[in-house]
Amino acid sequence: MSQIDEQLRTELQRQGVWVTSMQDLYNWGRKNSIWPLQFGLACCAIEMIATAASRYDIARFGGEIFRPSPRQADLMIVAGTVTKKMAPQIVRLYNQMADPKYVIAMGACAISGGPFKQGYNVLKGIDRYIPVDVYIPGCPPRPEALLHAFMELQRKIDEQKLTGANKAEFLKPDQPSEFPVPRFGKHDLEPSANRDVFQPPTIERQS
């Protein structure tokens, strides 16, 4: 159905016939009913709560149903500092979520460790263990930034294909939907990053 001619579609719409594809209908439903997992880790969670409350009102985008169980959630908003003691629990919660599932890394701490990057006890970005769909910089990001990330995620969901070679990752049976939970080591988490998920960027240094 995605092969339908755009001109024909508009012409049909003008005549009162509305044509869509299964994929568009499916994604339209999915993107407007994203249920986030209800948990917060630090000060970013306060902004997340503000986003869910009446002034910013994430319900306008269909994301107001914060679920207290990972089994019922579609979206994990990692809102705040992930300490090394908390990281295995975050990965475990992610593993317990049902596919399709998405992750928003909210704030400087969740994307890189932020102001605590040089500490011994803070994970330097949650993307070391689980794949992240949308990153929001900020310390903490304003509710508008979270809404923007939410809309970016909706756009991403809308573009996912259900069939064909480049269909969405969660539809491919060989793609992992669970990731290894790091263990508490003697000096650090083991391993300190999941190399299948996380590759440090190469930096060109200038002298």
Partner: protein, 221 residues
């Protein structure tokens, strides 16, 4: 509230054999403290808590201090006979003070609205002798803070009801707030590295012999 000197003499009168030392604080805060000996610490603490004039019923804060080994230089003027004549010669001597750990307690009285009285205890060294008596039986509020000191400094409090790590995980072996602690190398990259972080991050960067000089590169990433 009475002065620290008066408190010291009253403690020594009340607790037999207690050795108290007043530690001067030269900073603008002028918060001097009492160094109490480990053997009589619990008795001294109980005295401070129940004494009607002091009645320090609130332990607001417990913290640890790490003192590394240090060398103190002393200069003394000595009269010596040099070439048959008496002269004043300045001699310098070095004294090596081995490191130790300290636990510091800040005590207030809610009843009398006075404080703080600061007491300290000192371990014998930083390796095997890091034992101190716990003051949790006297002030219940010290329980979690003593656990935190155990977690981050490695002081073992004898008589503590539940001495476990509180912030780090149980399998963790280091004491991160000690001055000689090295955090694990888990910075693979830094957007803007400088100073210590630069040195640490260089190990993870590809070598560039044309800029750094081939002889300076020791390790391959």
């Amino acid at each position: 509230m009475e002065s620290l000197g008066e408190i010291k003499s009253r403690i020594e009168a009340a607790v037999f054999g207690a050795k108290i030392e007043i530690m001067q604080n030269g900073s603008p805060s002028q918060q001097h403290s009492l160094l109490i000996d480990n053997e009589h610490a619990v008795a001294v603490a109980r005295f401070l808590r129940v004494d009607p004039a002091l009645y320090l019923d609130f332990c607001s804060n417990v913290t640890g201090v790490d003192w590394l080994d240090r060398v103190v230089k002393k200069t003394t003027k000595v009269k010596k006979i040099v070439d048959g004549q008496e002269k004043e010669v300045v001699e310098t001597s070095e004294e090596k003070i081995p490191g130790y750990l300290e636990a510091v307690y800040h005590l207030y009285s809610i009843t009398h609205k006075h404080g703080p009285v600061i007491i300290r205890m000192r371990t014998s060294d930083r390796a095997d002798g890091t034992h101190l008596p716990s003051l949790t039986p006297v002030w219940r509020s010290a329980e979690f803070q003593e656990r935190e000191i155990f977690d981050l400094y490695g002081i073992r409090f004898g008589g503590h009801p539940d001495l476990r790590r509180i912030l780090m995980w149980d399998e963790f072996e280091n004491y991160p707030m000690r001055k000689d602690y090295h955090e694990p190398d888990d910075y693979e990259w830094e957007p803007t590295p400088h100073d210590d972080v630069m040195e640490k991050a260089k190990v993870h960067y590809p070598p560039r012999p044309e800029m750094d000089g081939a002889e300076k590169i020791t390790s391959q990433p």
